[in-house]
Symmetry: D2
Subunit: 432 residues, 4 copies
């Protein structure tokens, strides 16, 4: 028996609050889970700073990765197996890509990527293709196997059906994170009938399609996603924490560049600050390391860095008001001036944050599409794009919604011991 | 209006997966939640190493502390308020004690306390009574208030009804952790009808009693607790991780005492290793700091320390067999010798771990009792101890169950490159 | 103490799967629940023939009525109490109207009302105002109290805030039935965060309004309602059972009018068939009585009546095809002719059924509105109609969706023993 | 392809609140579900009079029967298939026995069986073996197939593994009803981890065994069963309704035997009253028919019959006190005399009801055993009876718990218009 088809002598199960159990029979999957790069995902939270808003959201990316694997496994083993257009030799490839699709995520990915111009997808590729334990396991299947897994995750793999299982507008990734994030935050919005959707998924040559009898379940899934974005992922308090986190990283980099002497030397950040981050350094950068430095930096002499770190660690976040960039740019300019006068560097203490989401989109020729649209399989065998069949989806299709907020340290602005007149003026403009 | 009775202008709510919402109206509670010592509980996991067995169990002690507060708030506001034997002036005291009861927990408390002879209860007292933000808030209520809160948590407060809400065999602490740990691990065993139990709780002068009509709900609660102990808290894989963690701490301390030169200097551990841990040092010791060091120590030259740290970080845990201390001590002695011959220090690589629990106990005069027994309020007004009324509880009452396991690194013992004969002998004795 | 304010010596609770517990403290409510007219609702299913599609949907209207009462009670006691614009003297009125709002429902209301031109709302009024146990309880509060309760349910009561709690586009009635029907059918579509909605409801002089911070929860509720309509309430199999039920009633009435001699004399139906239904007769008409007759009529000589009854009792329902009235009227005409030739009376065996729903509507001046629109309370105190604020709701607002299906007995059409050629022709037109 | 192995062209699913979906692929199962005898189970409630205590408990036996079928299907298809000791040719037999095991249940079985000395198991046999639609379907598989199905249900079938799936102390029947009754009543006590138990079930030649690693899940299941018995099945209010129901049947039979002239002739009861109930008559006796008569009898001249029927229909039940037969027989005798003096026939108005349950029992040689004990499969392959391994189960094993209550019409005893002195005396003895 080859390594690719080797089964464990006894099935292993992980107790999972969302899927009840995650089942593993394949030796390859078991070995991947045991790698140091995969175990590292335990030290990266799935939802970044969200735990500061929803205290239950402390779940890790390992948690989610196992869930995506289990969904793909069930779609294939319980649904696709034996159907036309499905080639069993793609099974292991799909399972590995599902398990490893988030492997390159770093700590608080969103903020890190913005500040240091990183892309977690590059690191996923690097880990799969580099000198890692993960690569060793995959190479053991076949010398080209790491490349294939990397291509599926990069959406460049030739078999688009395989790609669409992991990355489309109704893929295993989205289904798992909606259910999982709903579970751990405790909000009910993310729930939809995944079991029903899995039952109506059918393999086609170039994509997964959905039997039209399951259209309502898909509508419900899309609405769940919409709600989770605005209720959880873009929650203004979460974004406040993210703003502060981003500014901490900015400040530390700036200080480093200015040859500031840190009390606690940020050796883990050197290569990052110098734009020459090696894979091995990246892998060591987990959230424990970040939190270690933030705690240490609470005691730095630089008052901006220490203030921001204390705010983050002790959840003393910025407050916010709505901000309309079309109407209020003059106000913002004026506020920046006033902040400087009040002794507050506006680069760090007056921050506009924008969130934007497209609940669903059909395919627009010539445009860059992030994820594939959803196609229905009609009773007569025709394929129809979802928004042409569902009035609800049509109504929201392609409509981007954007929200801007202006963040600032309300506690300082209300502190009456210094700069009372300027602060009063600031508060008037902010309307607080 | 005094600070003690001050209400927030608008109620604050936290979304909680277990209780749906945690409600805060009292200014004092809101201020306590905002302290740095309370926020630190976000960086201490509720279940220590359990997340290595049940990947969902990544929830923090802050999470649990808010839950205990909410349960006590609901018992008082929805149940006790207006009843005889209940004095409304105790309300704030109960809420504060509930919120703060776990304040002194350190990282991986169980292991730390064992290795360094610490007691988290001492630190809870120290934080409440010392120079802390928490103390400042409490002192603002009344100069004696910190002392009273500390006494309630220490179970020495004069009003035993107040104490029993927080510490008895059916207190808010236990009710929250059973439900919460069941939720985050995903096991169903911890569920019981808390709403029913809260409805039948009645205040009496010296304790909370349970209306006898709710006896079955209490039986179910006790069985849930029993199941959670053996299915979750004493799970052999969790204990394996704990064994390794304990041995890492032992080894680091030993190396420090032997003046070993660490590549990464363990400055956060100095006072701990020297048995002169200051409160301020303790507060900084969160799980992020521990994980930071463990990752750093993966690269230490000492092979025991680096091996154990790699095992912990990458979840390459020890395996186990059942161990019967009455019959197998000779085997253990022999194994210790063989381990040494195989180049494995038995102090670190051959570990007996024992777990023991008493599902329920009545009061035994003259014995030290950990928690108060449960009393039923009969229809005629009499009070009866639970095990005299419930056959199920009587059957398990006072029966301690103990389990011993022997842990070892199976991967090394199966590695055939060195010491093959000795390892074979070891494996034979272990029966693996 | 007056009867209106009398409390039970001890609170009574009903275990409810949807709201956990239903709490009763008011003597008036307790007495109303004990009346024969209210207890009769145990023998009327909440969802008519739906149990033939979703086998769990066997829950009664009593079930739902208690739920609506509990929601209104919680909105008032936990939310409105003490707020401006809320007058505590309306509390009991609201609770009674909530509990009794469905009192006049008969067996399989939908079908009965259509065939016999009845209106359950008339009977609700009649029971509340007539010589009934319910009326006696209400009169005991105050001589005008029955009239007020009846007016609230009829939406003619002067205080529109009170009316809107029971009848608006986001009232306690709808919230309960969505959650309850989702629970008993087992579909997940009906779930939404009622707790959140209750927390953001505010009383205004003429209606309940929703704080705009809760807008997303309301969007989710509207989508849930939409899904429940098309996934459950308008399920084609349920409508098939309803078609057959309606035709049974038609046939029995026709036979009665033709002086047919029933083997089992339908004495319970006399006054109904003769259009002189007295209240006392109506109250006796529960679903047990209907099922009794349907079973008896399985043995009637009239082959249409006995066939339809056997179909209903044994769930041997009609099959269906989509029907487009704009294109297929000629086909329908032809089918009617062919059915006659095949010996099948098209009045009973070829039935078009139409379902139609408006997911949400704003107020249209001059048009008859069924239920009040939803208004948001903005942070600045303004009131805005929901669809002007929510893009999702705007997208679906006022858009009526209608669905037509054509029902027929496929088993007979496929039976090859008689009329083979005609049946073949019929099947071709139907496309089956 | 033979009828026994014929699959539906497309899998049918039933939405089930407990198991999410019930899946049907086998033509035989689909045809059985469509029979009139199986559909009749829609008109028999699973929990008899329990809906008068827990208003959600309106679910039918059809509901439960589908659930038992689904559990057995999953145990076989997901667990047993391909294992030693499992013969695939038993699959259809097991599925049919699971689906049909409750086929003979009549309306309010418990009460009917007691009053008329019936046994629903006899009727199950009669329906399977008699001239019924069910028999026709089964005979179509094989001429001996009805007999085999009947034997499995009667526990006389030669293959004891097959029998134990349907009838043991941890069979599919019990697992379904605990989960289902918990769901519909809304109590949480019935929950246990069925998925876990199904995963650890293994086929052995003569029984299903449970891998010892699943022992705690089984303990939890046994405790759930214990709780459901005392919290739900033996709920004193449910038993009150049952007492009244029993007495209605007694009274009607007595009146019939005394040649009383009923206003509404009980033709459906004739053969029952005369002890010559034919199968066809029995099948017609569903709960709708019973409720029809009870409503009609509310207007009978016999004051006992009409009073009891009104009580049942309008849920005006008897109240109760605890009764100790060892100490209070003299009181009961005295009460009987006083009831007569007060004009209340004690045969109908003073009723002792006893409930008794054995939570778990091991096999006792020579005694009649109702259900097989549970056996664990140890890691070394040995089989051990559960109570020898589990301390919790040992503690409650073989301990029968019995409860006696005395029921009476409190409203009449408190009515002061007649017999005041005697009633006062009665109330004193009853302690009410």
């Amino acid at each position: 028996m080859s390594y690719a088809t080797e089964k464990l002598s006894e099935e292993k199960v992980f107790k999972d609050p969302v899927h009840r159990y995650v089942h593993v029979r394949d030796r390859v999957i078991w070995d991947l889970i045991g790698t140091r790069e995969f175990q590292r995902l335990r030290r990266i939270r799935q939802l970044g700073t969200t735990y500061l808003t929803f205290h239950g959201a402390e779940h890790s990316r390992l948690n989610h990765s196992l869930g995506v694997y289990e969904i793909v496994r069930r779609i294939i083993d319980d649904g696709f197996d034996g159907r036309p257009d499905w080639y069993p030799e793609n099974r292991l490839l799909c399972l590995c890509a599902a398990l490893l699709h988030d492997l390159g995520h770093g700590p608080f990915s969103h903020s890190f990527e913005k500040v240091f111009h990183l892309d977690h997808e590059d690191f996923t590729q690097a880990i799969i293709l580099g000198e890692t334990e993960v690569n060793a396991v995959l190479r053991n299947v076949h010398k080209d196997f790491p490349k294939h897994v990397a291509e599926v995750i990069a959406k460049t793999y030739k078999n688009k059906l395989v790609v669409s299982l992991i990355s489309s507008q109704i893929d295993a990734d989205r289904m798992d994170y909606l259910l999982r994030d709903a579970y751990f935050t405790g909000v009910s919005y993310g729930n939809f009938d995944m079991e029903r959707i899995m039952r109506v998924m059918r393999p086609r040559e170039d994509q997964v399609v959905i039997k039209s009898s399951g259209m309502h379940a898909v509508e419900d899934y899309i609405m769940s996603r919409y709600q989770m974005y605005w209720q959880v992922y873009f929650h203004p308090v979460t974004r406040s924490a993210e703003v502060i986190l981003t500014k901490i990283l900015h400040r530390a980099k700036q200080l480093y560049e200015e040859n500031y002497t840190f009390k606690h030397d940020p050796i883990h950040f050197y290569s990052l600050f110098e734009d020459k981050l090696a894979l091995e350094d990246y892998i060591k950068l987990d959230e424990a390391v970040i939190m270690f430095y933030f705690q240490a930096w609470e005691e730095e002499e630089d008052s901006i860095l220490s203030d921001l770190c204390r705010r983050f660690m002790n959840r003393n976040l910025f407050k916010y008001v709505e901000f309309n960039p079309n109407k209020q740019m003059m106000d913002l300019m004026e506020l920046m001036g006033l902040f400087k006068k009040a002794g507050l560097d506006p680069e760090y203490y007056l921050v506009v944050d924008s969130s934007s989401d497209l609940p669903y989109d059909f395919y627009r020729p010539g445009e860059e599409e992030e994820r594939l649209p959803i196609h229905l399989l009609m009773p007569n065998g025709d394929i129809r794009e979802l928004s042409r069949q569902s009035e609800i989806v049509e109504a929201i299709s392609g409509k981007r919604r954007t929200d801007h907020k202006l963040y600032f340290p309300q506690d300082i602005l209300e502190d009456q011991t210094t700069k009372r007149t300027i602060k009063k003026k600031i508060r008037e403009i902010l309307g607080i």
